[in-house]
Symmetry: D2
Subunit: 349 residues, 4 copies
């Protein structure tokens, strides 16, 4: 006899990450169709996810309902996914935890431990004690690094898309001290436009993005704190520059570091392969065949390749992922799989 299926809910399914998540959950073998909730829905008119994404019409009906805690209880929701702005996540998560829900939050609201790093978000917690309590529960949801904690977590803070691509490339080399961190690490990342959200702005206007490339938020991007905390860096050791690519989705991070010793140079690829042996969702590429954004699109893979300079002193890592999958919704499903003891690949192929 098969186990009863889990009831999940998604707030924010009309955004790009939320939509990707709703689709993945809808086809996940261990789940009932997810309850889709809208924050600012009047509820006067019945709406469906198909109205926002006609591509899924003909696959069954995905109704959108106005959000309410009562509704969550009525539907027997056990796991709540928040694909909401961080201000909303910050406000709602303590209440969700109080009500016994498990939560995977896709925003930046609960990712950071260090108060200084958090300043960039300018959180205004109505009840700072409750918020601090929730903070203490939050587990950074990078399964390749925190699998054990995620399994038991009540609150999983799903990592940022840039942060995932950078942390996964660097973590094995930092942990084995192959990299000389005192020389600093440079992360030059390029992202497709879906990473900027669904809201139309002059930054996401087709004419402004096409035939273009631009750097932005130099020395100021919000994912900086995550990377520093997860890799155990000192702030000045990380230089991170994101760029906006004229493509809909995908991230490529080119990462520059110093190797501690020329001998270590030979071990770089081996170190990555060792670290990710048995991990379902990281692929290590040889230096002769570096990852490209296309390879990871519509998959949950983070692809990593490493090149060492002829003098054995410098390392270039190339890390690619789909910002809506491994960078957001796919990783959220992977986290759920761990939280409920399922195979990490379930629902992600």
């Amino acid at each position: 006899m098969s186990a009863p299926k889990l009831q999940t809910a998604v707030v924010g399914a009309t955004g790009y990450s939320g939509f990707e998540l709703a689709c993945l959950l809808y086809h996940h073998p261990h789940l009932r169709p997810p309850v889709l909730l809208q924050r600012d829905s009047s509820g006067d008119e019945e709406r469906f996810l198909q109205d926002f994404y006609p591509r899924i019409s003909g696959n069954g009906s995905l109704p959108l309902e106005p959000f309410s805690w009562t509704r969550l209880a009525e539907k027997g929701v056990d796991l709540l996914f928040l694909a909401t702005p961080h201000e909303i996540s910050r406000e709602w998560v303590p209440e969700a935890l109080r009500r016994g829900l498990r939560v995977v939050d896709l925003s930046g609201a609960w990712r950071l431990k260090c108060p200084q790093h958090r300043q960039v978000y300018r959180f205004k917690d109505a009840d700072p004690d409750e918020a601090a309590k929730a903070d203490s529960f939050a587990v950074y949801g990078l399964p390749e690094l925190h699998e054990k904690d995620i399994r038991d977590a009540q609150l999983v803070a799903n990592p940022g898309c840039y942060a995932t691509s950078i942390i996964l490339a660097l973590a094995p080399l930092v942990k084995t001290s192959l990299i000389a961190l005192e020389h600093g690490v440079v992360c030059d990342s390029k992202s497709g436009v879906s990473g900027a959200g669904k809201e139309p702005t002059s930054r996401t206007h087709f004419v402004e993005v096409a035939d273009n490339l631009s750097a932005y938020s130099v020395f100021e991007h919000r994912h900086t704190g995550e990377i520093i905390e997860q890799l155990g860096l000192a702030a000045p050791q990380l230089t991170f520059t994101p760029h906006l690519l004229p493509i809909p989705r995908g991230i490529l991070s080119t990462i520059y570091a110093r190797l501690r010793s020329p001998e270590g140079a030979r071990d770089t690829e081996a170190c990555l392969r060792d670290f990710y042996r048995g991990k379902s969702w990281v692929r290590v590429f040889p230096s002769t065949k570096l990852p490209q954004i296309q390879f990871s699109l519509h998959t949950n893979f983070c692809d990593i390749g490493a090149c060492v300079s002829p003098d054995g002193e410098r390392l270039v890592l190339v890390s690619c992922l789909d910002n809506l999958r491994k960078g957001a919704a796919g990783q959220a499903v992977q986290n759920m799989n761990l939280m409920y003891g399922w195979n990490e690949k379930e629902g992600l192929n």
Copy 2:
């Protein structure tokens, strides 16, 4: 001794067409730098066109000023270009004419003669008599068809981008009765995104446009009336479908018609060549080398090619232009050149 240079002004230079126009005027040999006026500027802060389009920085300063009739008079403006929404153009043009200005209006406000065609715009003229008077002055600014009237015009209604591509391809064949209009004409047009304007909307969001193509306003597009009027068609003879292309600029119209006689088929290309002999801004391509959007980008050319079916009964025309040049700002400059007796190519190479 050279003639004194003309003073022009542009309202709406921050939009895509207005910007293209301001740049052309700025480099035009017979003009002083254009006065650039903003409708909704508070005037508190000095702004420059460079702030909106950094690509032109380093080419001298292009200040934006709040619009006022007084300012126009002070600056000695003779010719006013309106790159404004049609509601604004409808309101301002009568006043401009009263003040003795010549006007080239880039909106749809003054293009249509037939009240029925105008209905789609829902004009609400405060002073219908004044508006009707201005209407009676308006000349449809397609230089290849109305050169003589444009030379003397006080008010030139610059044609729509789609309309230009379609009318220029069909006019010679309609006028020589090579086409059997009673069978109808199908115009399938495809436009780059700048044609949808600079305002960020869900329609112009990069993620919605990239890797996509969509038809819109089927049987309802506002340019329909222009095409019908200029070609002397009956309404049901024209079927026009615009599409949104994932490119920043450029239009390609594929036009389908019946030839009156198989004998006429041999004359199609010759008819186009005859009609446009001596015209600077239309290029006729052979059927073996049809126009492509790229060929006309950043030029003022409308490129036309014709293919006849093996049975000699059907005609396919391909017509390309840059919607911001021959489809808007370039054509406006071409009109100005005629209005002031200059060479039609001046300032457009």
Copy 3:
């Protein structure tokens, strides 16, 4: 006890359609992993599909083997997919049939019944009798029209991508005589670049395609014959113009026809809905929400929408599909599903 799984083989898995097909077959629940065969492989070096498409690395090994009839027999192949040039398909299919294989051919080799239409391919059959025999076996593999014949077919000629998008939109209206064919039908189609194949040419060079649109093969495209035969048109009744879009995949066809009577206009959408009721892979969209290329990408759907002119006389159909799915590999799988009595949707979600 479940049925033993079927063994398939694919020749040409390194092309775009062949690759898409290999991936679909690999994940199909009723199949063993497909045997992948290369025509011009020396066999000296072991190669894998991953070498050509790194995106699938980490999903198990997909070896490429040199083609031989012996190898097909050894592996117990029952169903052979040919994603080969039509010359090769024309040569190999008679032999395959002789050997008792069932075949789905993705090329244009076996689609046409009328010798005149076939002329465009310039077939040079070594054994014309054998070829004629195979021709007599061939079933045009459009499941929505020929389901019954496909079920029993030994040779399925998988339709062209353009042809699929056009025939599916028109067939219901032609069959119910809603359309007045004597006025002709205009099909203006736009395709992504994968439709032009994987071979690098000046036509597929990024710089020639990007920021561009071009019409090609006007009055000469090879899919014309398929459309005429399947819809029962007279040759001069079809005008078909393909265009090359700056996107990797997807087709949108805009189709223009005359309605027989204004009364029939009201029935257009109903006619489409009736015809495709119960069909898994066609979605009918309302005129207020026309299909777009994005909606069908990476799915096996053909999406159709219809707009009728205000005078009730003219019809515009918009038809979209993914040229590598419903336009090629997906449709091949759908055909296989019918040939083996499986659910039409199997392996396509």
Copy 4:
């Protein structure tokens, strides 16, 4: 009385850089129309540049002729532009110099002084002495650094596109010792596809480039030597990674360096402004408004912006240019302007 116009010739005008160059020369006020020569032309058939680039049709005839030294002499060519592969340039330049021609070579044949850096090109000089002599004449054609030498040069080695974007950003800061070179410099560059040349390859196929980004030639790119030589770096101080962007043209380089002192941080922008004061073709942008690729397209500008980290220790430079203008043909014209004592901006607006 105006000076007699100069006669130039271009070998390789059908390539992307050569075409851009031919167009610039054609409109240059001090030149006669350039003689366009093809290396591998049989000469049997008369060909025109319009046949390869229909966009310029209607602008007068640009005949292509088979290359011969006799023809150059007959036409009275004074200045020869080579837009040829470096092997050809290496072979032809000594002969051209012997014949008294001045040469601007757009390939990598004559850019490098250090034999070690040259190894990457594997030159096989038929007459090493002649080649060495030509090497000794060659001036690196970066006008902002070598204006004086260029003025008198008989042979100008036009810089690489990546190299131009990187050298111009770093040179002022290296020369003033604001940067601590001992910590190394990281140059992460992204280029449009025209930089990969006009030859169709799997790398330039639209489907492989679109929706993608890839790094290539890590630690191995040929422009590395130029950058090292021009900036006076030690080889291990430069880490340069080029990437292929899904756009037709344009380069953005993001450059990472250490500042020698926090005090110097305040001077970075000032240093750039000082260095480029009075230079026509470099624009320095403030850190609040960084350059983007779009800003420099179809111009000869190299745009540079600088951001300093909050701790004042790290510098990020963003440098943009159009690889076919300032990165190739535009710079070649700028060099010509200096060689003949004309204004540096002539023919480039």
